[in-house]
């Protein structure tokens, strides 16, 4: 029976209508997956080298012991937000002659097919073999592996249980993150050390490997609790994560922008209330750490802004490009309604500009914390900001009028290639390359600041002429709207 279930699942995955249709998109998706797997594996094998660098005052195994519990604490939080409950898939079986315990067993096995259950293998097991095995022998390594796998299973089933039991509110995740960050801070100031605690646990296991059995015992207990809960409450509406009460909200801030502001507020609600746009926009904030990779003291010292420009444009404009590349398709499910209502297309387009400008402004303000590294970066960010709100916004919206692919926004964003087409790929290049090209043109004459000035001016001119661009895009939109609407109805 279980095999039948799993074969159905396999079919539902491969035959899913939402899987990116074109082969090219799937190949790229495959490459990305491979890339992430390799990176994780690389970190796993590289830990022997990285760990002493990050924690120079202790040996690698102590550091490794220290990070295990941290990892699983973060893992738990990530799962709380991202792991999905495998509930819907059982609906067609509930009315059939299948015993409940079999359905529960299926649900529990299906829950294992999650990327979260793959990372620990890639991240931790290599180190176990490379470093722990030579030093402590086979028995200890087995104990390590057993502990790590058990912790993973523990998290897996614990989160399912928690999600089924209670409201999985984003506030929980933020609260949890705050707690973990507090512990990191306490760690940093050497007040309380989870790392030492984690190390203590695994030191004990090294001394007495049998102690590791405690983890599978806890994991098994949680598994049993979860299974018993499922068995007792096998009703679809009770199994899915509980719903919060929805309230109407009004973003008064937008009212000052008239009709366009109202439409922008509408779209803001769209972003906040759907998984895919939400994570797309959040991605834009995560990108803010890019600066740490690119802003090296020697690079800043020598005023070589070329590569830094790349990072700056990316950081201040990521949300524009990542959200904008699917533009209009976010609203594909009610696009007909938007067209047939009394909405001026000009307001419609202006609303997009408004949102983009606000997003980019927020990101630029956030990114200004890099000024602690060097005040020059503020100039760089300002230039990138002008470029983004002036040029990138226009670019993205012009390209949006060529986008006819519907997307289902309630699905998660990671590895979701629905709605990906040639437009999306092309759109990224000019956006990144253009400022670097302008900059290089000036850099040949060793005028880095003139280069920045030119980009900033270019952005400013585009910004000043925005009225013209709005009209231009509206004209295109008017011409294309039937085609867009038709594509979105599919």
């Amino acid at each position: 029976m279980l095999n039948t279930f799993l074969s159905h699942q396999r079919k539902s995955f491969w035959r899913s209508r939402n899987r990116g249709g074109s082969i090219a998109a799937q190949v790229v998706l495959g490459l990305f997956m491979l890339y992430f797997l390799l990176v994780a594996l690389g970190i796993g094998f590289g830990m022997k080298i990285f760990l002493p660098k990050f924690f120079p005052h202790q040996d690698a195994i102590t550091s490794f012991n220290g990070i295990i519990l941290y990892y699983f604490a973060f893992d738990l939080l990530m799962r709380l937000q991202l792991q999905e409950l495998p509930t819907l898939s059982i609906i067609p079986y509930l009315n059939l002659k299948i015993s409940k315990s079999k359905i529960v067993a299926f649900l529990n096995i299906k829950a294992l097919f999650s990327a979260f259950n793959l990372w620990p293998f890639l991240l931790f097991l290599p180190f176990c073999f490379v470093a722990v095995l030579p030093q402590h022998g086979f028995l200890v390594v087995s104990a390590y592996i057993l502990s790590i796998i058990s912790l993973m299973l523990l998290n897996n089933y614990l989160i399912l249980f928690l999600k089924r039991k209670s409201i999985s509110n984003i506030l929980f995740t933020i609260g949890g993150l705050a707690i973990v960050s507090a512990f990191v801070a306490l760690e940093y100031f050497k007040i309380i050390s989870i790392m030492a605690g984690s190390d203590w646990v695994f030191k004990a296991i090294t001394k007495q490997p049998l102690l590791a059995l405690i983890f599978p015992a806890i994991a098994f207990l949680i598994f049993k609790i979860n299974a018993a809960f499922l068995r007792k409450n096998l009703y679809v509406e009770e199994l899915s994560a509980k719903q919060e009460k929805k309230v109407s909200t009004d973003y008064a801030f937008f009212n000052r922008f008239g009709k366009a502001g109202e439409l922008a507020a509408l779209e803001l609600k769209l972003i906040i209330r759907h998984k895919r746009p939400r994570s797309t926009v959040l991605m834009g904030t995560i990108i803010l750490v890019y600066g740490f990779l690119f802003y090296k003291p020697e690079v800043i010292q020598s005023n070589s802004f070329g590569m830094m420009l790349f990072a700056a444009v990316f950081m201040t404009g990521m949300s524009i490009i990542s959200y904008g590349q699917f533009m209009f398709a976010w609203q594909s499910s009610h696009f007909d309604g938007l067209l047939s209502n009394k909405i001026d297309f000009k307001d419609f387009i202006k609303a997009k500009f408004l949102l983009f400008t606000i997003a980019s402004t927020i990101l630029t303000i956030l990114a200004s914390f890099y000024c602690f590294i060097s005040a020059k970066l503020l100039i760089l960010h300002l230039v990138a900001y002008l470029y983004n709100i002036g040029f990138t916004t226009v670019m993205v919206l012009i390209l949006a009028t060529y986008n006819y692919k519907r997307i289902d926004i309630s699905r998660s964003a990671s590895f979701n290639w629905q709605g990906m087409g040639a437009t999306q790929w092309i759109s990224i290049f000019p956006f990144i390359l253009l400022p670097i090209l302008i900059y290089w043109a000036f850099n040949i004459f060793h005028q880095p600041y003139m280069g920045l000035l030119a980009i900033g001016l270019f952005g400013l001119i585009m910004l000043v002429t925005r009225g013209f661009w709005v009209n231009f895009i509206v004209k295109r939109f008017e011409k294309q709207r039937y085609k867009i609407a038709e594509g979105f109805r599919e």
């Binding site: 929805k246 509408l266 609600k269 007909d336 067209l339 047939s340």
Partner: protein
């Protein structure tokens, strides 16, 4: 003449989905569009609303082609399917939004919705749900109420009776009848009883073509039944 359809044609590939030579509609008429699946009713409605570009011909609303200007949006309201609802809003937010497009304040909208308590059966307002979480019937109610709220001169509804419970069907019929004369209504339906009851004119379409176009009288229902059972 509030609406006029001239030589309207929509062709997909080699299949002609809609092919209507001429329809004239005078203000205040309530017209029922009747036809089997695939008769082209929804496509026709979409062309009335400028959502699909006709292959040939034109739709004139108060003499102006709907594809060339947007004045018709000021006096036309419609609900074809859930694609017209912004489903991630609460009903209140949606009504407020639609109201704001028509210069109605939040207070106006609230006052308007007061009279719909019965129609909504107290299931829609203050329910703490987004529109997407409603049953299909309740979504249809939201869509219809939002359309009526705009006090349109032309109202276009596609299959409004489908998915509604019997009580609401009757209420909707009464609502539509009460508006007859003051509002031009265009509805499509598979339920012959309802259309003959509500409409004073029936347009029967098949494979995109107008087969019959006539005023309703006491024999209409029988005529239609005999046509469709043949």
């Amino acid at each position: 003449m509030i609406l006029e359809v001239k030589n309207l044609k929509k062709v997909y590939g080699d299949k002609t989905v809609v092919n209507i030579e001429h329809i004239q509609i005078t203000p205040g008429e309530t017209i029922g569009l009747v036809g089997n699946n695939g008769a082209g009713k929804t496509t026709f409605f979409r062309m009335l609303l400028d959502l699909i570009r006709p292959t040939e011909g034109e739709v004139l609303s108060k003499g102006e082609n709907v594809a060339h200007q947007e004045n018709w949006k000021n006096y036309t309201a419609s609900f074809l399917d859930e694609g017209f609802l912004i489903d991630y809003l609460t009903p209140e937010e949606y009504f407020t939004f639609i109201g704001s497009l028509n210069q109605l304040s939040t207070a106006d909208v609230g006052a308007y919705l007061m009279q719909y308590g019965e129609f909504f059966n107290n299931e829609i307002l203050n329910s703490g749900k987004y529109i997407r979480d409603f049953s299909k019937g309740n979504q249809v109610k939201v869509g219809i109420a939002a359309a009526l709220m705009q006090k349109p001169e032309i109202l276009i509804l596609d299959e409004p009776f489908a998915n509604l419970d019997p009580t609401t069907q009757i209420r909707l019929k009464n609502l539509l009848k009460a508006q007859a004369g003051s509002m031009t209504t265009f509805i499509s339906s598979h339920d012959l009883n309802h259309v003959t009851d509500v409409c004073n004119r029936i347009i029967l379409v098949e494979k995109g073509q107008v087969i019959k176009d006539f005023q309703t009288d006491e024999n209409t229902l029988r005529e239609l039944e005999s046509y469709f059972s043949a």
